[in-house]
């Protein structure tokens, strides 16, 4: 490879003596003078100037996102904070302090860009949580970025996180209704999000006109009943009707059976479908309407709740042992035994057996 030389600044001094030049001089001189310009590489882009940040930390008791003293919101004073270079622990010069008595704070001379505003959780009063910490704040040149930081009594988390929070935990979740109150039992409402599904046990929800596909945002307490995890004492924060019914997740009887003993398993509480599962035993009479189904991956219980099949319903005549069915339902368990709960008989469709079972 031929090495490429360094560039030298060029000028007319390198030209031979004057007697040689005559008419060529002006053109050459001008050209070479122009070449001497711009020889250095352009400098990197640098943003010059600074901006600032004005902040306000408060307890958002009603979780409205706004400061409303009449709703119990109050400023949080004396809480340490830092303005950090985003994604790092580097604190900008003058970028740390504590909130004032009015919950306010200000940081000057910040470089423009998006920074992390971090609030020390240890400085918060008991029962106040920062659901997003650090908070990204964009600072613009010669402007003051408004940073309103709302500490909340609870944070919206995924259903799976809530299920794993443990019995007695107070959680805040949002999910789509897959089974409305009264469909299985009057106290049963099933919701799910992308992480998991869960049963809400409360008679207070019935009568609100909730339908499958609505989204519920609520606070609740995590509980266990006969090894089946459920949320109790719900406090409904928001009902968004008609968001859209989730599509049942395709699974197998074996997968559900395996998930049975684990109340916090993501499959528990989720709306699922199993294909061509063969009914292996007939339903028991009375309130214990359980039959065994198996799609070839392992048997599990198909439970027909009383709301679908009240006393006197000829359930044994509806289904035939040895036949196969596609079954849609929510997943639960009873003392560690997995069960699938169809929400209506429309959730059970007889199909040809594929031979897998």
């Amino acid at each position: 490879m031929m090495p490429f030389p360094n560039v030298e600044r060029r000028g007319v001094s390198a030209l031979p003596g004057r007697s040689w030049l005559r008419g060529a001089v002006p053109a050459l001189a001008l050209s070479l003078a122009m070449m001497a310009c711009d020889a250095d590489p352009a400098p990197p882009f640098v943003v010059e100037g600074t901006g600032s940040m004005d902040g306000f930390l408060f307890l958002d008791a009603d979780r409205s996102g706004f400061f409303d003293p009449f709703a119990g919101d109050e400023p949080l004073a004396g809480v340490p904070f830092e303005v950090r270079d985003r994604g790092t622990s580097r604190v900008f010069g003058g970028g740390s302090g504590v909130t004032g008595s009015d919950g306010r704070f200000a940081v000057a001379s910040l470089p423009p860009g998006t920074h992390d505003l971090w609030v020390d959780p240890a400085g918060l009063p008991e029962g106040a949580l920062l659901c997003r910490n650090p908070l990204p704040v964009s600072v613009y040149l010669a402007e003051s970025a408004e940073a309103m930081v709302a500490a909340e009594p609870v944070c919206l988390i995924s259903i799976q996180e809530a299920k794993e929070a443990g019995t007695g935990a107070f959680v805040n979740v949002s999910g789509i209704v897959t089974s409305f109150p009264g469909q299985l039992r009057s106290q049963y409402t099933y919701i799910q999000d992308g992480s998991a599904g869960v049963r809400i046990f409360s008679a207070a929800i019935e009568g609100l006109g909730i339908e499958i596909g609505d989204r519920l945002t609520l606070t609740a307490e995590v509980g266990i009943f006969n090894n089946d995890l459920q949320f109790t004492s719900p406090g409904l924060e928001e009902i968004e009707p008609g968001v859209g019914a989730p599509t049942p997740q395709t699974t197998t009887t074996g997968a559900m059976a395996a998930a049975g003993p684990s109340p916090a398993d993501p499959l528990q509480g989720r709306l699922v479908v199993v294909r061509a599962a063969q009914l292996q035993t007939n339903f028991t009479a009375g309130g214990n309407r359980n039959g065994l189904i198996d799609d070839g991956s392992g048997a599990m219980e198909l439970r027909i709740e009383a709301a679908l099949s009240p006393a006197g319903d000829p359930i044994r005549e509806r289904f035939t042992v040895g036949n196969c069915y596609d079954v849609v339902g929510v997943v639960g368990n009873f003392n560690g035994t997995a069960q699938i709960f169809p929400r209506s008989f429309d959730d059970i469709t007889e199909v040809a057996c594929t031979g897998g079972s």
Partner: protein, 1076 residues
């Protein structure tokens, strides 16, 4: 070893020395852009100049005459001569009339003729015919190569595009597997810095910086309409501008006094084509071309016409995914075949696609072209000559593009229709003054429409081979259209006074652009499996769109104008110097809207259009007729040039006045999350014009996404180039010519693109030469996936591109050429060209993102490409170090004529890469790897046996590839390796038969890549493909050691043969021509 500085200084010193030879003399004159000139010096037998001798040049084909009287020095120059064969008649009272015949006049050159008159008193009165003469152009130091009418008509051409013959110049950097039709790099410069002009008028597509019609169009002008052209890399004449690489100057044919014409047709097909380089036969391939030309006098010796047409019907095979393709692999994938069948059923039943199977499998693409050309030349009187011509070209390319996995549904229909009308008035305004006025109106329309522009449906994995399948969508043809209209005027006035000939002129061109374009405008859904496709459960939806929901539209005008003046000074009988200056301006007349948010965030000025008032181009050249007889010339020059920028740079700004929003919906549908993909449940009911394609995520509402903008740098400058050249040309006996030309080019202010929203460096990789990383250490992955918004300065924005201008380029070339013309119309031309070209970015066009991601970077980001010897500095992608070209034509026995072109050149530069993003700038593949010693290479494996195996493999790569192994312990510079050389031989065999009345029938057989035809192992295009350039691939960033850990892939540096390419596989073309 020569260095570029020494080369440059040597060229410069020789130039200055040449300039120093001075004296006094008489004027000669300058040739034009579309015409040539004849310079005559009339002497007596006593070597005394004869003043007042009458000299008349007559075009032997058209009867066109131009005459003049010699001056006190016995000189006269006959200007504005249309190229052709001339007879020059000289007479003076008391002297015998002398006539020289068959004098070739070529565009842009002055044929020099010395005439010695014999006194009639000492000789029998009458006419002395001296026959053919050959002289050199001794007036001008330009570095140019002319492709003659004879070469155009006799040499083999694959596709009948005259630009194929541009490859006869060793200064062109071809890409063998791609056609050069639309773009070609000259002298190692960017293709956009080549300026094509036809009949003196602009013939570029200014938007993309390419030929009008673009690279996909087989030809715009019929080969039947091209007379000759020249490739000028150093055109010191100030009439030439708007380039830094070179000018391709073309003139079209006109009619003559002879009524004549011909019809022509040829064919190529799969039976005449060799197997692919993988050994498979070509099927369903055919090309038929047909052409015709008729020309003749309207009024003998005064007015002429020429009409020509050229057409093409081309069908090309295309193989895409199908049920069968799953079964054709080494391990047939029956599951995949079955699932593909289900994929089609779902498309039909759930998405309402009619006959989806028709989109896949094997089909033919269409590339049909039709062009018409008409020209009229009218000699109004002895002083004025008017010509006018119009060219139409229409092209349809159906089922273009798309991928293997999407088949026809992902392809598009591209059309290109162009018109150009050019008229020229050549006027002689007295004995010493002439003028050329020129006008052009040209239009071009390029609509591109995807075959299916509803969102693309992608299913990730089918079958055991985990093949991805797609339906519909388009990346670049979502109601895309480009319209370019041009109005151009130019005027050049020549005036001779004493020993000086002055040229002054100007040119103005107003271009109106309309461009509607958005990448990824159709959007696309991704599904994990067929169940999800069937149940309308995508896991992702992405789409780019403009913030107001409208399609991005750029409408703007660009005004180019230039003024120039030049003095050609006949310093002595033998020495001519030319000093000129040109001023260029390129004005984007529509100021874009301000982007206040960007100003607030980044402190830059927006709402500006580029304006650079300093585009002054002084030029000087000197030519020395060493012996004074036109048989040898020493020439040299230095000049400054200002190139264009492709207007698409302005289009990128205009289109983001309302920002482009990048929508990403990847929330969970089970959660009905706000950012979950919108369900395509009603896909079959959506309008097929794309108007129903979703522009929000699951919950509707306002347009969403993070904005991208493109801006102009505040003091944007246009590309500027300084060129030096020194050359020598010598006639070696009758018919033989030899020349050598040394050219040095220094370009700066080449356009680049910066991204303002890249944050400052966060940390440094000490074990990789101090590579700076733009993502916080804790978030860095080095694989490219983790950069996300973490490398952005302000996360309220996506990319903020800025058209910048810190591109640099330097190139040196030396061309040695030898040409011999035999008596029997045979000729042979051979040349060797050495080119060494370096730059810091080989970006030529088009999107802002392409400009930002093009430079290869080492320690810093693409925002700091650096200068000479900076991190991105290296051999240009357009460098081809050595090129040998042989071309010629000769008669064989039995009236068979054969013509050949053989070209050999060393390969394009390349360098080792890696698959990741080693500095977190958000761009994969642009980072120069650090060349570790094998024992120091941080590996991602903890298995000693695996580590040992990888180190040995890596050590082997270094040993086998010195272009990599020589750089152990440093960040490797760019493009240290070279692809293998490539050569091809094309041959034409032609035999004509007389029919009736002097009419002839000709049979032409063109053979392309003959070596491949002789042996399937020969003539292959072998290269290190992109997949074989990954030296080390990052796996993760080890937070504890602060080192990137790598794996060593297999196959680095291995050469592979391109599988199938219908430009390279041997083909025969059979043509018939009937001349009347």
């Amino acid at each position: 070893m020569l260095t570029m500085n020494r080369i440059r200084n040597t060229v410069l010193a020789a130039l200055v020395a040449l300039a120093g030879v001075a004296g006094a003399g008489e004027a000669e004159a300058q040739a034009g852009t579309t015409t040539g000139a004849i310079g005559v010096r009339v002497l007596s037998t006593a070597d005394q100049p004869l003043s007042g001798a009458q000299v008349v040049a007559r075009n032997q084909e058209t009867g066109f005459e131009r005459g003049g009287l010699t001056n006190a020095e016995g000189r006269v120059t006959l200007r504005l001569l249309p190229p052709g064969i001339y007879t020059v008649r000289t007479q003076f009272i008391g002297y015998r009339v002398e006539e020289v015949t068959d004098l070739q006049v070529t565009i842009g050159q002055t044929a020099q003729l010395n005439v010695e008159l014999v006194e009639s008193a000492v000789a029998v009165a009458g006419i002395e015919v001296t026959g053919q003469v050959q002289t050199l152009n001794t007036r001008d130091a330009s570095v140019r190569q002319t492709v003659s009418e004879a070469e155009i008509s006799s040499l083999p051409a694959l596709g009948r595009d005259f630009t194929d013959f541009i490859a006869l110049s060793g200064l062109v950097s071809p890409i063998p597997e791609e056609t050069t039709g639309g773009q070609f790099a000259l002298g190692g410069q960017r293709p956009s810095q080549t300026n094509l002009q036809i009949d003196g008028a602009d013939a570029n597509n200014s938007f993309f910086g390419e030929n009008r019609g673009g690279s996909r169009v087989p030809f715009t002008f019929s080969l039947e309409s091209i007379r000759e052209f020249e490739i000028i890399t150093n055109g010191f004449d100030v009439e030439f501008g708007n380039y830094s690489g070179g000018v391709v100057n073309v003139v079209t044919r006109g009619g003559t006094n002879r009524f004549e014409g011909n019809v022509y047709a040829n064919m190529r097909n799969d039976a005449l084509t060799a197997n692919t380089f993988a050994g498979s036969p070509v099927e369903e391939y055919r090309v038929n071309q047909f052409a015709g030309r008729v020309s003749g006098p309207i009024v003998r010796d005064r007015a002429f016409f020429l009409f020509s047409m050229d057409g093409q019907i081309r069908r090309e095979p295309r193989a895409t995914i199908s049920q069968a393709s799953f079964l054709e692999g080494e391990e047939p994938d029956e599951v995949g075949a079955s699932e593909f069948d289900r994929f089609l059923r779902i498309l039909e039943n759930q998405y309402g696609i009619q006959d989806p199977a028709a989109s896949y499998g094997n089909f033919q693409t269409t590339a049909d072209q039709l062009s018409f050309f008409g020209r009229i030349d009218w000699t109004l009187n002895e002083n004025h000559r008017l010509s006018a011509r119009h060219n139409y070209a229409g092209f349809v390319n159906a089922d273009l593009g798309g991928g293997f996995n999407s088949g026809r549904s992902g392809a598009e229909r591209l059309e290109s229709v162009s018109h150009s009308f050019v008229s020229e008035l050549q006027s002689v305004l007295g004995e010493r003054t002439s003028n050329v006025a020129r006008f052009q109106f040209a239009t071009e329309r390029r609509p591109r429409d995807g075959n299916e522009i509803r969102p693309r449906l992608i299913v990730d994995n089918l079958g055991q081979t985990q093949q991805q399948v797609q339906f519909g969508g388009t990346n670049f043809a979502f109601q895309n259209r480009l319209e370019e209209d041009k109005l151009e005027f130019s005027n050049v006035l020549n005036h001779a006074r004493g020993s000086h000939t002055f040229k002054v002129g100007g040119r103005g061109m107003l271009t109106s652009i309309t461009n509607q374009f958005i990448a990824f405008g159709a959007g696309q859904y991704r599904f994990r499996n067929l169940d999800d496709l069937e149940n309308f459960r995508p896991y992702q939806y992405t789409r780019d769109q403009r913030g107001d929901g409208q399609l991005p539209l750029a409408r703007f005008d660009v005004l180019e104008w230039a003024l120039f003046a030049q003095d050609e000074w006949q310093v002595t009988d033998r020495l001519t110097t030319t000093l000129g200056v040109r001023y260029d301006q390129q004005i984007f007349r529509n100021r874009p809207e301000r982007v206040i948010d960007v100003e607030r965030a980044f402190g830059v000025t927006t709402g500006i259009a580029p304006f650079n008032p300093n585009n002054i181009s002084p030029r000087f050249n000197v030519a020395w007729d060493r012996l004074g007889d036109g048989s040898s010339v020493l020439r040299g020059g230095v000049g400054y040039y200002h190139g264009r920028i492709p207007y698409v740079l302005g289009g990128n700004v205009e289109q983001t006045e309302v920002p482009i929003l990048s929508l990403l919906c990847d929330g969970d549908l089970d959660d009905n999350a706000p950012n979950a993909p919108p369900r395509p449940t009603n896909y079959q009911g959506w309008n097929t014009d794309g108007s129903d394609n979703p522009f929000t995520c699951n919950q509707g509402g306002d347009l969403r996404g993070i904005p991208t903008y493109t801006l102009w740098q505040e003091d944007f400058k246009y590309p500027s180039t300084l060129k030096y050249s020194v050359g020598y040309e010598q006639l070696l006996g009758r018919g033989t010519r030899a020349s050598v030309d040394l050219v040095y080019t220094d370009s700066r202010n080449l356009y680049t693109v910066r991204n303002l929203n890249l944050r400052d460096a966060q940390f440094t990789l000490e074990n990789e030469g101090g590579r700076q990383v733009y993502v916080p250490r804790e978030l860095f992955t080095a694989t490219g996936g983790g950069a996300g918004a973490n490398n952005r300065r302000n996360t309220d924005f996506a990319d903020i591109y800025v058209n910048y201008n810190d591109g640099l380029s330097r190139a040196f070339s030396a061309t040695f050429e030898l040409e011999h013309r035999f008596q029997d119309r045979s000729s042979l031309r051979g040349s060797y060209t050495y080119t060494n070209s370096y730059d810091n970015s080989s970006y030529s066009c088009c999107t802002a993102n392409a400009g930002w991601t093009n430079p290869r970077v080492g320690t810093a980001s693409p925002n700091e490409v650096g200068g000479v010897d900076g991190q991105a500095w290296g051999p240009s992608n357009f460098a081809r170090n050595h090129t040998l070209i042989l071309s010629g034509t000769t008669m064989l026995p039995f009236g068979v004529r054969t013509s050949v072109i053989w070209r050999w050149n060393t390969g394009a530069p390349w360098g080792p890469e890696n698959s990741g993003d080693l500095n977190g700038d958000g761009v994969n593949f642009n980072d120069l790897p650090f060349i570790f010693a094998p024992e120091d290479l941080p590996l991602a494996t903890s298995d000693p046996a695996v580590a040992q195996e990888q180190r040995e493999r890596y050590a082997g790569y270094l040993a086998d590839n010195p272009c990599v192994g020589d750089y152990v312990g440093q960040l490797i510079p760019r493009n240290t390796c070279r692809q293998p050389s490539f050569n091809r031989l094309d041959v034409r065999i032609n035999r004509e038969f007389n029919t009736v009345g002097g009419q002839r029938l000709g049979l032409e057989v063109d053979l392309f890549n003959v070596l491949n035809g002789l042996n399937s192992d020969w003539g292959r295009y072998v290269s290190v493909s992109a997949a074989r350039r990954n030296l080390i691939n990052p796996v993760r960033f080890n937070q504890e050691t602060s080192q990137i850990e790598y794996t060593v892939p297999t196959g680095f540096g291995d050469t592979t043969t391109i599988g199938a390419n219908l430009l390279l596989q041997f083909q025969a073309q059979i043509g018939l021509r009937y001349r009347f």
